[in-house]
C-alpha cells in the first residue's frame, strides 16, 4: 500500500534528475549520464516493488459472484473503490447516487452529489440498485450475460488506489492531480523505466562525445519524468499536461542535432502534426469535463461513462475527438507522417520515445478512458467502428510502406506505425487486454530492433542506409545479429516468441475467425486486414535481415561488433522479447499443452481492471486453428522473401517497377508515402503559410490600415477645409478673440508638413475638438 500511495515519488525523482543534470551535469565526471542512470534505476526498483505489492494486493481483492443479487454486486463493486478518496472522485465515493442523479438530470451534469445523497451511502446502493442496473446500455447488458456464461462465474474485483492533491480549488470545479494505481498504470510503470534504463546505458556509448551529451541526458530524464507523470494520471487535465510535455521532449530530442535543417524540420513537423491532434484531445477532454459534472477526474469520467451517467451521443463525440489525438500521438493514419521523420533524432531516442513509450501514449489514453470509447463507439456486439477502422488501415498501409524504405530505421518506424495500428484495432474490437499485452511485448522487441539498428549504424559510419552501406554483418556482429533475429521473430509472430502470443490474442479478439468464442464483437474486415498486415510484417522484416546481415558488405571501412554497453541492453531486450509472451499464456491452452494454472493469463488478471470504472469485457478464447494460420501467414512472408533474396526466386519480379507501368505506378505511390507529405507540407502548410498568411497580411496593410489611414487623411482634409472656409472667413471675421486662438492652432497645424504627421495631427485636432464638443453638450 505504501508503494501505491507514494508513487508520485517516481516522476518526482526523474524531474529532480532533470534539474540536477541541467544545473550540475557538465561538472560531473560522466557529464550527467550517471545522474540519469542512477535515478532511472531507482525508479525501476520502486516499480518492481510496486508490482510485487500489486500481486499480493490482488490476491486479497474481493470477488464478485455471478448470479448474486444486483444490490450485493454493487455494494461489492463500491467496496472495491474504497481506496479512491472522495476528494479525488466524488462519483467513486457515491457511485449509485451520482449515476442516479445524473440520470435524473438527463445526463446534463453539473450536479453536486456529495451532499445529501452521500450520507445514504449503502442504503442508496440497495434501494436504487436495480434502477442503475438498467441504466447500463444494451451493449453492456449483452456483454454481461455473455460474461455470466463464462466458466468460473466468479471474478476478482480490482481495487485501484488513487491519491490526489488539489491543483485549483474552485466552488465550480475542484481540479486535482495525483496518481491512479491499478494494473494498467503498474504495467506502464514497469515498462517505461525499464526501457529508459537500457536506453540510458546504451546511450553512454552510442552518443559518446556528442556535442550536447549532457543536454541529451537531461532531456531523457525530463522525458521519463513526463511519461511517468502521464501514465500515473489521476485527472484528464494531468493527462493533457503529461501528453504535451512528452511531446516537447520528443521535439527537443528529434531536433537534437538542430544545426542541420532536416533535423529541425522533422522536429517541427512532429510538434505541429501533434498539435493538430491535440485539438481533438483538448476538445474531447473538455466535452468529458462537462459531461462528468465539471470534473477532470478519470475515475469520475470512467464510472459515469460505464454506468450510463453520460449520454451516448456525448460519449461518441468525445471519443471521435480523442481518436484524432490518438492519430497524431500514436502515428495512426492520417496523422502518422511525422513518425518516420522523427527518426532524425538519435537512435536510442527512437527506441525509447518513438517506439516503446511515448507513441503508445495514445493507446494508453484510450485504454485508460476505455468506457468512453467502449460505449461511445458501441464496440460490443458490433462489426465496425472508427477506432477499429483507423487501426486496421494503419496496420496494413503502414506495413506496405515499410517495403520501399532503404533506411533501416524508416523500416522500423513504419513497422511501429503498423504495430500501433494493431493495438488500436485491438482496442477497437474490444480486445483490451490483447492491446495492452501487445503494447507490453512490442515495447521490448521493438526497442531491441531500434537499438540493434543503432548498433549497426555505430559500426557502419553512422549510416542507416541498409541497401547501400550495410550487408554481410552477420559474422562480424554476431551479438547484434542474434538479438536482431530474435526480435524480428517476435515481431513476425513466430511461435513461441512473445509477439506470437500477443498478436494471436488480437486476431482472436476480432471474433471473426470461425469457431472463435467470447469475443466482444465480430470484426471480419479487421481480421482480414490484420492477417495481410501480419504477412507483410514478416516479409519486410526478413528483407531488412537480408540487407543488413547477408550478402557482401557494401559500406566503407571495417565494421566491428559494438561494445558491451550496447550489446548488453540488446541481449536483455531480446530475452524479454522472447519470453514476455509467457506473461499471458491463454487458459484454454491447458487442454492442449500442459500449462499450470498459476501461469495462465497472469497479465490479464493483473492488468485488466474489473469493477465499476471499467466495462465488462469478455475474452476471446485461444483458437489453435487461428494460431496456426497466423504463424503460417507470417511463415509464408518469411519464406517468400527468403526465396526472393537468398535464392533469387521469382526472377520476373526483380526490377519489375522498371519495366511494368502498373508496378511502377504502385511503387511510386509507396515511395511517395501515399502523397500525404505532399498534401500536408506543400498543399496545406504551403497554402496557409503562403497564400492565406500573406493574404491576411495584405488585408491588414491595405484594407484595415487603409481605412485607418484614409480616415486620417479625410480628417486632415476636413480640418483644412474648416480652417480655410470657416475659421478664416466666418470665425475670424466675426469673433476676434476666438479667431486668434483658432488660427494659432490652425497655424500650428499648417507648419507641420512632412510625412504622415500632418494628417494625424489633424485627426488629433479633430478628435480633441469632438471630445470637447461632447463634453460641452453633455455636461451643459
Amino acid at each position: 500500500m505504501w508503494f501505491f500511495t507514494h508513487v508520485w515519488i517516481v516522476p518526482a525523482m526523474m524531474a529532480l534528475s532533470f534539474l540536477l543534470i541541467l544545473f550540475f551535469g557538465k561538472k560531473m565526471p560522466k557529464k550527467g549520464a550517471e545522474i540519469g542512470i542512477f535515478f532511472v534505476a531507482l525508479c525501476l526498483i520502486y516499480s518492481l516493488f510496486t508490482l510485487g505489492n500489486w500481486i499480493t494486493w490482488s490476491h486479497d481483492s474481493p470477488t464478485l459472484a455471478e448470479g448474486a443479487p444486483e444490490a450485493q454486486q454493487l455494494a461489492a463493486e463500491k467496496g472495491a473503490l474504497a481506496n479512491v478518496p472522495a476528494e479525488c472522485s466524488k462519483v467513486a465515493a457515491h457511485p449509485v447516487a451520482s449515476v442516479a442523479s445524473e440520470k435524473a438530470e438527463g445526463g446534463s451534469g453539473g450536479s453536486d452529489t456529495s451532499g445529501g445523497h452521500g450520507d445514504e451511502g449503502a442504503t442508496a446502493a440497495n434501494s436504487t440498485g436495480t434502477g442503475t442496473g438498467e441504466v447500463a446500455s444494451g451493449a453492456a447488458a449483452t456483454s454481461g450475460s455473455a460474461k455470466a456464461a463464462e466458466a468460473g462465474a466468479e471474478e476478482t474485483l480490482t481495487r485501484p488506489v488513487v491519491r490526489c492533491a488539489t491543483w485549483i480549488d474552485s466552488p465550480e470545479a475542484s481540479i486535482t492531480w495525483g496518481t491512479q494505481i491499478d494494473g494498467l498504470s503498474i504495467m506502464m510503470l514497469l515498462v517505461v523505466p525499464l526501457i529508459s534504463l537500457l536506453v540510458h546505458i546504451f546511450s553512454t556509448d552510442y552518443v559518446h562525445g556528442d556535442r550536447r551529451y549532457t543536454h541529451y541526458f537531461a532531456f531523457l530524464s525530463l522525458f521519463t519524468a513526463s511519461m511517468l507523470f502521464f501514465v500515473l494520471s489521476q485527472s484528464t487535465l494531468q493527462m493533457i499536461v503529461g501528453w504535451e510535455l512528452v511531446g516537447v521532449c520528443s521535439f527537443a530530442l528529434i531536433g537534437h542535432w538542430w544545426e542541420e535543417k532536416p533535423n529541425s524540420d522533422a522536429a517541427l513537423k512532429a510538434f505541429l502534426t501533434n498539435r493538430v491532434g491535440d485539438m481533438g484531445l483538448l476538445i474531447g477532454m473538455i466535452i468529458l469535463f462537462f459531461a462528468a459534472g465539471n470534473s477532470f477526474s478519470i475515475m469520475d469520467i470512467t464510472i459515469l461513462a460505464n454506468e450510463g451517467g453520460i449520454r451516448h451521443t456525448v460519449l461518441m463525440a468525445a471519443s471521435i475527438c480523442l481518436i484524432a489525438a490518438v492519430m497524431s500521438k500514436s502515428g495512426q493514419f492520417i496523422l502518422h507522417t511525422w513518425l518516420p521523420d522523427a527518426m532524425a533524432g538519435p537512435t536510442p531516442v527512437s527506441a525509447l520515445i518513438h517506439a516503446a513509450t511515448m507513441v503508445v501514449a495514445g493507446i494508453f489514453m484510450v485504454a485508460r478512458l476505455y468506457p468512453v470509447f467502449f460505449h461511445g463507439l458501441s464496440i460490443s456486439g458490433s462489426s465496425i467502428n472508427l477506432l477499429a477502422v483507423v487501426g486496421a488501415v494503419t496496420a496494413l498501409f503502414g506495413a506496405l510502406l515499410a517495403f520501399v524504405q532503404k533506411d533501416i530505421k524508416k523500416v522500423l518506424a513504419y513497422s511501429t506505425v503498423s504495430q500501433l495500428g494493431f493495438m488500436v484495432t485491438s482496442l477497437g474490437v474490444g480486445a483490451w487486454t490483447a492491446a495492452m499485452f501487445h503494447l507490453f511485448t512490442h515495447a521490448f522487441f521493438k526497442a531491441c530492433l531500434f537499438l540493434g539498428a543503432g548498433s549497426l549504424s555505430h559500426a557502419c559510419h553512422h549510416s542507416f542506409n541498409m541497401v547501400d552501406d550495410m550487408g554481410g554483418l552477420r559474422k562480424i556482429m554476431p551479438k547484434t545479429f542474434w538479438t536482431y533475429l530474435i526480435a524480428t521473430g517476435a515481431l513476425a509472430g513466430i511461435f513461441p516468441l512473445s509477439g506470437f502470443w500477443s498478436k494471436d490474442e488480437i486476431l482472436a479478439g476480432t471474433g471473426s475467425f470461425p469457431g472463435s468464442s467470447h469475443a466482444n464483437g465480430t470484426y471480419h474486415l479487421m481480421l482480414i486486414m490484420l492477417l495481410i498486415a501480419a504477412f507483410c510484417t514478416a516479409a519486410y522484416m526478413t528483407r531488412t535481415i537480408w540487407y543488413a546481415f547477408y550478402g557482401e558488405y557494401r559500406g566503407h571501412g571495417h565494421p566491428h561488433e559494438s561494445g558491451p554497453r550496447i550489446t548488453v541492453p540488446l541481449i536483455i531486450l531480446a530475452t524479454l522479447g522472447a519470453i514476455a509472451g509467457l506473461a499471458n499464456l491463454p487458459a484454454q491452452l491447458s487442454g492442449w499443452l500442459d500449462v499450470p494454472d498459476s501461469v495462465q493469463t497472469r497479465f490479464e488478471h493483473l492488468v485488466e481492471p474489473v469493477g465499476l470504472y471499467f466495462p465488462q469485457l469478455t475474452h476471446a478464447e485461444f483458437n489453435p486453428a487461428l494460431a496456426i494460420l497466423s504463424v503460417a501467414v507470417g511463415g509464408a512472408g518469411i519464406v517468400l522473401v527468403y526465396l526472393y533474396y537468398w535464392k533469387g526466386a521469382f526472377a520476373g519480379l526483380h526490377g519489375l517497377a522498371g519495366r511494368n507501368r502498373t508496378a511502377a505506378f504502385f511503387k511510386n505511390i509507396l515511395v511517395n508515402k501515399y502523397y500525404f507529405d505532399w498534401l500536408y507540407t506543400d498543399v496545406i502548410t504551403g497554402w496557409v503559410k503562403g497564400g492565406l498568411a500573406r493574404g491576411s497580411n495584405w488585408v491588414n496593410k491595405n484594407v484595415i490600415d487603409g481605412v485607418v489611414n484614409g480616415v486620417g487623411r479625410g480628417a486632415a482634409a476636413g480640418g483644412r477645409w474648416v480652417y480655410d472656409n470657416v475659421d478664416q472667413t466666418v470665425v475670424d471675421g466675426a469673433v476676434n478673440g476666438a479667431g486668434s486662438v483658432s488660427s494659432a492652432t490652425g497655424g500650428g497645424l499648417r507648419r507641420i508638413t512632412s510625412g504622415h504627421i500632418q494628417q494625424y495631427a489633424a485627426l488629433f485636432f479633430a478628435a480633441a475638438a469632438v471630445l470637447a464638443g461632447m463634453f460641452v453638450v453633455l455636461i451643459g
Binding site: 483538448l282 473538455i286 462537462f290 496557409v688 503559410k689 492565406l692 485607418v708
Partner: protein
Amino acid sequence: MKQFLNDWGLILVTFLPMVGVLAMLCVPRESEETHKLLAVITSLATAFVGILLMLNFNYDRAGILQFRVDHSWIDAINSRFIMGLDGLSLPLLALTLLIMPLVFIYSWNHIPEPGNVKAFFVLMLVLEMGMIGTFLAEDLILFFVFFEIVLLPMYFLIGVWGGPERKYASIKFFIYTLLGSALMLVAFVAVYFLVKNPVTGEAIQTFSIPELKAAGGEGITRAAQVVIFGGMFMGFGIKVPMFPFHTWLPDAHTQAPTQGSVILAAVLLKLGTYGFMRIAIPILPDGARQWAPVIGVLAVIGIIYGALCCLAQTDMKRLIAFSSVSHMGFTMLAISTLTTFGFNAAVFGMVAHGLITGMLFFIAGSMKDRYHTLEIKRLGGLLVSAPKLGWIFGLCTMASLGLPGLAGFWGEFPAILSAYAPAEGLNITLFRGLMIAAALGTVLAAGYLLWLYQRTAFGTPTEEFADDPHIHDVTTPEWISWTPLLVLIVLLGFVPAIIFNVTEPAVNIIAKTVGG
C-alpha cells in the same frame, strides 16, 4: 500597520512613483547614474508597498474591495476619489509592480537612442503611476483620468526613443486610443445620467463603480445599454486591441524601444481587458449579454487572423506584436463567455501574456542590440552564438504557444474550455464553433512560434554574423531582470492556483451579476 495601509496604502502605491519623479526633476540631466538609481529605488519602493498590501490582503474575502479609500474629489460632477483592491485587480497590480523594476534594471545598459536618461525614466515612472491608478480606481472619472495619463508617456516613449517610423506609429497609437477614450467617456457620462437606484427608482448620478455595479444597469433599457456598451467597447476594445481595431499595435510595438514594447505588452493591453471586466460588463449586464457573441466572434477572428499575419511577418518584433493580437483574442473569447471559468481564464491569460510576451520583447530587444537587425532572414543559429539566450528564447516560445507546465497554458486552455459552456442565454452552438476555431488557433500559434524559433535559433549563424564579437551571451542586468519572469512562467505553470484562487471570488461576483 494594517490601519495605515487601509488609509494610505493604495494612495501610496499609486503616487510613490511621482515622488521619484519629483526627486529626479531636482537632479541635473547629466548625472545619469543617479537617475538610474533613483528610478530603480522608486520602483522597488512602490513594489515594496505593493508587497505589504498583498501580505495584508484578506484572501478569504478577495471578492470585496479592500484598503478602500473614498474622498470627495470633484463635487461639481459628483465624482469621488475612490480606490480599492480586490481579487480582480490584485494580480494585475502585482504584474505592474513586478514589470516596472525589471524594466528599469534592464535599462541600466540598454538606453535607446537618443539617450536622455532623465526624461526617459521620468516618463516611465509617470506611466507606472497611470497604470497602477487605472487598476485601483473605483470611480469612472478617476479611472478615465488614469487611463488617459498612461497615453501620454507612452506616446513620447515611442515618438522620441522609437525606431525609424516612430512618428507615424506614435501618432497612430495616440489618436486611435484617444478616439476610443472619447467614446468611452461619452458612455461613462451616459451611465451617470441614466442609471437608477433599483429601490427608489431615482437616478443615482454617480461615477462610483461599486454603486453602479450594485445598480446593475437598472433604469437603462436594453437598447440603450447596447449603445452605451458600444461606447465602452470602443474604448476598451481598441486598447486590447480587438480585431479590427488592432492595427495601431504592430506599428507601435515594432517602433517602440524595448522598454516601451515590454510595458505595452505586459501591462498596457490589459487596461482594455480589465476595463471590460471591471466596468463594462458589471455595470451594463444587459448590454454585455447582447454584445457577448459579437465580442466572441471578433476575438476568434483576432486569434486566427493575428496568427495568420504572424506567419507572414519578416521582422521578429513585428511577429511577436501580431502574436499579441492572437493571444489577447483568447482572453477576449474567455471574457465573452460571461462565466466564472471564462473570467478566471481571462485574468490568468492577462498575467501569463504579460509575463511571456514581455519576456519575448525583452529577448527581441536584446537580440536587436546584438545583431542590429531583427529581420528573420538574416538571423539564425542563436543557440550557437549565444546558447543561454537561445534557451531562454526557446522556453518563452514554448510558454507562448501554450505548453502545459508553463504559464501560457492556463490562459489558453481554460479559455477554450469556457467557450464550451457559455453563460445561460448565449448561443451554445455559436460558442462551441468558436471553441473549435480557437483550438485551431493553438495549432497556428505553434506554427508561427516554432517557425520563428527554427529560423532564428536553430541552424548555424549566417555568414554576416558568424564571428561577430557583438553577439555575446546574456549579461548581468539581463539575468537580473529576466530571472523573476522566467521563474514565474514556470511556477505559475505548475501552481496556477496562485492566481486562480485570488481571482475566483472576485470574478464569481461579476459572473453572477451578468449570468442571471
